[in-house]
């Protein structure tokens, strides 16, 4: 029926050109594409757009007690930075934060070690996390003040509570998701105990651990500022939260905004500089996350 079935096509044989003969084949990207490929620039663009929106809305509202303009906030920020108030307050907050964060991570590591070593340990971690993770850290503040008095110790206690569960939960679920092959490889090398955890489980679970550290950091930072607001000037000089609260009482709203902006800026710095450089050097480089 089909006449073309019988057509025999000639065979084709060719000699491929040697790779060295035609050099590297690549198409240069346009300037726009190259700029657009930088995450830093894209994010800056979003920040600029938000700042413009803020400025426009505040000017239209025209009420500096309710919503100061972006420019006056920046002005207040510059003034407060120049006279040393804001850096000092931020430093006070960060010192407490680092202590609380470090202790929280240490306890989370211990708890996760217990959890992976036995089934009872796993149950222990799961029960504790489901009990305490939903409990807002700030709710423990009154208790903490009774136990540890009006000092940094009670702030640290609350911070530890906010960091511990998020980090422990993520680390543990990261350990559970390490592939069976990698586990077998590790045991094949004769590794056991803490060397197995340190050399195999932690790097293999690093994407989840990093997520836990990020969440823990965010919880800690917001808890700290909130605690300082409630709790005020316990530690002699007071932190950023106290700065915000103080200026609200003075009706210096653009200073309040400047304080909040500092909280945000520190948050952005930690997220986009510290954590993203860790991410770039570890999980992205290893091809475990894209």
């Amino acid at each position: 029926m089909h006449a073309d079935v019988s057509i025999v096509r000639p065979e084709v044989l060719r000699d491929p050109v040697q790779g060295a003969d035609f050099g590297v084949v690549e198409k240069p990207l346009s300037a726009f594409e190259r700029l657009y490929n930088r995450g830093f620039l894209r994010k800056s663009l979003i920040l600029v757009a938000l700042a413009l929106l803020w400025e426009a809305y505040a000017r239209w509202l025209d009420n500096s007690l309710l919503f100061p303009t972006f420019s006056s906030t920046v002005q207040a920020l510059v003034l407060n930075v120049a006279d040393g108030t804001l850096p000092e307050r931020a430093w006070t907050s960060l010192q407490v934060l680092v202590v609380g964060y470090a202790v929280g991570i240490l306890l989370a590591a211990l708890l996760t070690m217990v959890a992976i070593s036995s089934r009872l340990g796993t149950d222990f971690l799961e029960t504790l996390t489901s009990m305490f993770n939903p409990l807002p850290a700030i709710a423990l503040l009154p208790l903490s003040m009774v136990w540890f008095g009006l000092g940094n110790a009670s702030l640290v206690f609350v911070l530890v509570h906010s960091v511990l569960w998020a980090v422990a939960l993520n680390t543990h679920s990261g350990f559970l998701s390490v592939s069976a092959t990698l586990r077998m490889v590790g045991r094949n090398y004769g590794l056991c105990g803490w060397r197995y955890v340190w050399l195999i489980l932690i790097p293999a679970a690093f994407p989840s651990i990093l997520t836990g550290l990020k969440i823990g950091w965010a919880f800690a930072w917001r808890t700290l500022i909130a605690a300082e607001l409630v709790f005020g000037v316990s530690a002699g000089s007071g932190g950023l939260g106290w700065f915000v609260y103080e200026n609200k009482n003075l009706l210096a709203i653009s200073d309040v905004f400047a304080g909040l902006l500092t909280v945000i800026l520190i948050g952005l710095f930690v997220e986009n500089v510290l954590f993203s450089s860790i991410e770039r050097r570890t999980v992205r480089r290893w091809g475990m996350q894209h």
């Binding site: 092959t181 990698l182 077998m184 094949n188 060397r195 475990m288």
Partner: protein
């Protein structure tokens, strides 16, 4: 028993019954399997899926304890995984993603305390060049193709110079062209060092090509059906075909319904 161990016996599997538990019941994977791997053997475990060949290999690796019988490596009873029995797995994710090719090959040498870092590096580079990956020594695993990853895993296993190299269908996830190339390379490596290897496959052709001795297992549960000698590499295609048919007949004599689970590549 242990005292009688012959010098040339590397792996002795002695009446091994393997069972594993699912949530509902106990499954018997192999029933009273016996075989002995000699030094410099290329010993192949061959059978359709469900014959417990991978489970058997994992038991030799020390990941499972036999319900009955005993496994000995160089006369010592196997009780846990260890670097004297290096595994090469089927999965491509067996390399540590956070270490370069060189570091991956070095790591077991250093971690098991076999060599100091400097010597481990030299040895690693030697075996990496043996598997033709010298120019990729500093690449990370995610930059490599599947075949290259398997080569690194083989280099890693060989660099340890283990009593026996355990290979669990290492080429099964590769495309047909790469698989043939890897088989040839493995034989070349063997010509160099005459290592002992226990190799699991479900392909009759691969078993004949790779193996010097072939253990045929029947499924559900795995039992020894036969232990045959393979052919020399210069065997004629007639001989190859004949052995292939013989193995096929042995494996599927009574049950042809299992046929679809084996492909005779």
């Amino acid at each position: 028993m242990t005292l009688l161990t012959n010098e040339r016996n590397v792996v002795e599997v002695d009446g091994v019954t393997l069972q594993y538990k699912t949530t509902r019941h106990v499954v018997t994977a192999t029933y009273r399997v016996d075989f002995t791997v000699h030094r410099a053997d290329r010993f192949v475990l061959l059978g359709p899926s469900g014959c417990g060949k991978s489970t058997l290999l994992k038991a030799v690796g020390g990941y499972l304890t036999p319900a009955e019988g005993e496994i000995r490596v160089r006369g010592h009873k196997v009780s846990r995984p260890g670097p004297d029995r290096m595994m090469v797995f089927q999965e491509f994710d067996q390399l540590l993603p956070w270490r370069t090719v060189k570091q991956n090959v070095m790591f077991p040498l250093v971690a098991s305390g076999k060599l100091p870092p400097q010597e481990a590096e030299d040895k690693a580079l030697h075996y990496i060049s043996k598997v033709n990956l010298a120019s990729f020594a500093d690449s990370l695993p995610h930059m490599l193709s599947g075949g290259m990853k398997q080569r690194v895993a083989i280099a890693r296993g060989m660099a340890m110079e283990p009593d026996v190299l355990l290979m669990d269908e290492p080429f099964a996830a590769l495309d047909a062209l790469t698989r043939r190339k890897m088989q040839d390379e493995l034989l070349q490596l063997w010509d160099d060092t005459h290592f002992t290897v226990l190799f699991v496959t479900h392909s009759i052709a691969e078993a004949i090509k790779i193996g010097t001795r072939i253990l045929l297992l029947s499924p559900h549960p795995g039992q020894v059906k036969a232990e045959l000698n393979s052919l020399p590499r210069d065997a004629s295609s007639n001989e190859l075909e004949e052995l292939e048919h013989r193995i096929h007949a042995l494996l599927f004599s009574e049950e042809s319904r299992e046929q679809e689970s084996v492909d005779a590549r």
